[in-house]
């Protein structure tokens, strides 16, 4: 499958370059700092599952940031370097190009996520948590990161410059995050709609708490597919520019 060829090349570029290492190192450092100061360093006594919930709250946020930072270069850099021509004259459809870019970024997010495993391990050492809670929490983090990565790929497909792609993706992601605030100040049915659209509150909290819900899985799958579809349409439209 050509999408895998594209993903393999992108993953190799991430691993051979230094920017991905800097992003991952910076995120792990900041996350570790906040985990120690905020999650483990709280003055009041808490149950281990509450500490774990706080960890996933942090991990979700940092995974979103990593997704935007990693994807802002994916298609925009190919365009800026002129290598996009190789992809666009290949037999890969525009959808396969987008999928390949998303898969490569997700592989990097998965590596980053795997490197955070020491934090739940520390909670397990100092308390008692269900392994299922850890697994479900990480599934939630990957779902959230998957949707954000799709937004990042869309931004990267829209702009030639990485910075513009990053700013667009950040603004769009924050808009989707703060939708829950909108839901609190509007009346039904808009409140329900805004609440459902919010990328974090209603859909990520169950994962944070160790609950695997079908509606949240459907939501993240839909959001990811929708933004990847939009990115594909952007690439198709560029053949008409």
């Amino acid at each position: 499958m050509t999408a895998l060829t594209i993903a393999r090349r992108d993953l190799a570029a991430y691993l051979h370059g230094y920017s991905a290492y800097i992003i991952i190192a910076a995120i792990l450092f900041l996350q570790g700092l906040m985990f120690n100061a905020w999650v483990l360093g709280a003055s009041s006594a808490r149950y281990s599952h509450e500490v774990l919930e706080q960890f996933f709250y942090l991990d979700g946020g940092f995974a979103m940031a990593a997704a935007i930072l990693l994807t802002m270069r994916s298609i925009a850099e190919e365009r800026a370097n002129g290598t996009e021509v190789l992809l666009r004259t290949s037999t890969a459809s525009d959808g396969q190009i987008v999928l390949g870019k998303w898969l490569a970024a997700m592989a990097m997010i998965a590596i980053l996520t795997a490197l955070t495993i020491y934090m739940p391990a520390l909670i397990m050492v100092n308390g008692k948590v269900a392994l299922a809670h850890v697994v479900v929490g990480y599934v939630g983090v990957l779902c959230l990161a998957g949707a954000t990565t799709a937004i990042g790929v869309l931004g990267s497909a829209m702009f030639r410059f990485q910075l513009a792609a990053g700013i667009f993706s950040t603004v769009l992601t924050i808009t989707l995050v703060v939708m829950w605030i909108l839901s609190e100040i509007t009346d039904p049915p808009f409140a329900d709609l805004a609440s459902y659209m919010a990328i974090w509150n209603m859909h990520f909290t169950p994962f944070q708490e160790g609950r695997l819900t079908l509606s949240s899985l459907v939501y993240y799958s839909t959001v990811t597919t929708a933004f990847l579809y939009l990115a594909t349409r952007i690439l198709e439209a560029r053949r008409w520019e």
Partner: protein, 308 residues
């Protein structure tokens, strides 16, 4: 092999290409000639499948671009002016990646790499990182990726731009080698290069096709020219030529002391008769030759005709 019919492309209200039609046979190298902004790159991008035409059709080896764009892309190889190279990859790794992107099975890619390395004259550079290669070798890697999947049509946009004279000679040889079993179209702003490399020329001006044919055929559509150098006064030579019934134009050239030289234009190819008349009129002929910039003259005449 390649049929382009009624190709039209608008950018907003601006018509970049208008009703352009031409064909390319197997084994043929066609040169696309035109001034900057004439529509050359638009034509090549449409042929490469990176741009969609507003109207018209492109058929390559029986596959229609609109009906089956992905199948068409498997039949074309494209080298843009700036080769699409990943600087961090080795030549072999890059060609392997390009082959897989073109939908080739892994085993086929591995067997094909030595062939394209030989065709593009890259022997000894297979394991070199692309970023460390010279500009000429980067162009060759670009050509190698364009032919890795054995396409029916190879599209080369300004393939010799930025190359030094030695590299140009090598590149000319490489391009000539590409035409076996496939069609090649290239654009270049260097008229001499088109003249030396291509079997046929397509001239585009202001988005319209103004002429196509071999250099000789294009020549027949315009005037016949020769450069005459004689002993004696330049004024005598030019005034005699201007008075001759066969001559439609005379342009005096700088010549050594005691010599006279001029470019002579005629509507019919009767150079032998003109020279005989010169000898008969008592001119001591030192040299008769074709103008060096013959293609340039043809090109300028064609684009001028179109403009007026």
């Amino acid at each position: 092999m390649v049929e382009v019919a009624g190709l039209t492309r608008f950018y907003g209200d601006f018509s970049a290409l208008s009703d352009v039609s031409f064909g390319i046979a197997e084994g043929e190298i066609v040169g696309l000639l035109g001034l900057n902004g004439a529509g050359k790159s638009t034509t090549l991008k449409i042929l490469a499948g990176t741009l969609t035409p507003s109207r018209g059709s492109v058929t390559i080896a029986g596959v229609d671009a609109r009906a089956n764009p992905e199948a068409l892309r498997s039949r074309i190889g494209y080298l843009p002016e700036e080769p699409p190279l990943y600087r961090d990859m080795t030549v072999t790794a890059y060609l392997r990646h390009a082959g897989r992107l073109k939908g080739m099975p892994a085993a086929r890619v591995e067997s094909r790499i030595p062939e394209v390395v030989r065709l593009a004259d890259l022997e000894g550079r297979e394991e070199q990182v692309i970023g460390t290669l010279s500009h000429g070798y980067k162009k060759r890697v670009g050509i190698a990726q364009a032919i890795i999947h054995d396409p029916k049509l190879v599209i080369l946009d300004e393939p010799i731009s930025g190359l030094d004279p030695a590299q140009i000679v090598e590149m000319r040889r490489v391009i000539r080698g590409l035409a076996t079993g496939r069609a090649v179209i290239l654009s270049s702003h260097i008229l001499g290069e088109i003249s030396q490399t291509c079997d046929r020329i397509v001239v585009i001006h202001d988005g319209k096709l103004v002429a196509q044919g071999t250099e000789a055929e294009l020549h027949q559509g315009g005037s016949h020219k020769l450069v005459v150098t004689t002993r004696g006064e330049p004024e005598r030579l030019t005034s005699w030529l201007e008075a001759h019934s066969l001559v439609t134009g005379v342009r005096r050239l700088d010549a050594e002391e005691g010599l006279a030289s001029a470019v002579v234009s005629m509507t019919t190819d009767e150079r032998e008769r003109l020279i005989a008349d010169l000898v008969g009129a008592g001119f001591a002929i030192r040299l008769v030759e074709d103008p060096e910039d013959e293609l340039e003259e043809i090109f300028l005449a064609l684009t001028k005709q179109e403009a007026t």
